[in-house]
Amino acid sequence: MMSLPFLIFACALGAAWLRQRGVAIGLWVAGVVVMLVLFRIHVTEVLSISL
């Protein structure tokens, strides 16, 4: 789900607001990992050029 990074980052903000710094940073790391996985999936989309 492409919306997962945003949800995870929103949860990280919520954890930070509740003074759970470790949880917030952990969620942030999870969000970045999900972003990288999604990027890996979409980075190989075919270039629309003819060589």
């Binding site: 492409m2 945003f6 980052f9 903000l13």
Partner: protein, 184 residues
Amino acid sequence: MPAELSRLLNALGLIAIVTALSIAFVDQLWFRDLPCPLCILQRAGFTAAGVGIALNLIFGPRPSHYGMTILGASVGASISIRQILLHIVPGTGSYGNAIFGLHLYTWALIGFGLTIVWSAILLFDDRQFETPEPWSKRLDVLPLTALVTFFLLALGNAVSTLLICGFGLLGQCPDNPAHYLLLE
């Protein structure tokens, strides 16, 4: 750098990220320019960078928070570069509307670059780290507004992305979305 100045600069940084995310939303909602998967991931990059700044505002400035901002912006910049390369050859077209002659993915790369440079400059002054101060105990209007707006934009992007891409598994988001998948 005094703690007050550091807080002000962090609040302004978060407002800049909020502005970037808001412009993308206006382009999507007002001009009906739906974001592609790479565009969505660039928004996520701005959100990742903004979380580091938000932690600076809530817990006080720490080098690790600036590191989060730099890493988040670096991932976002990588995605922007990839999308620019997709359209760099003349005649290969572009994606979305141009603003002042540049497409959003080009503006995004500029924004990520500025975020990295801004964070690096703020990291130069060690005095802000000497007296850790939990600012959230006395957040004034500017940082609080930036934090709340940023949180709402993260949630808004989650909902918007869900509407565009649906509940599908990873990688099922349309490459060139023409409509909201869940509103069909």
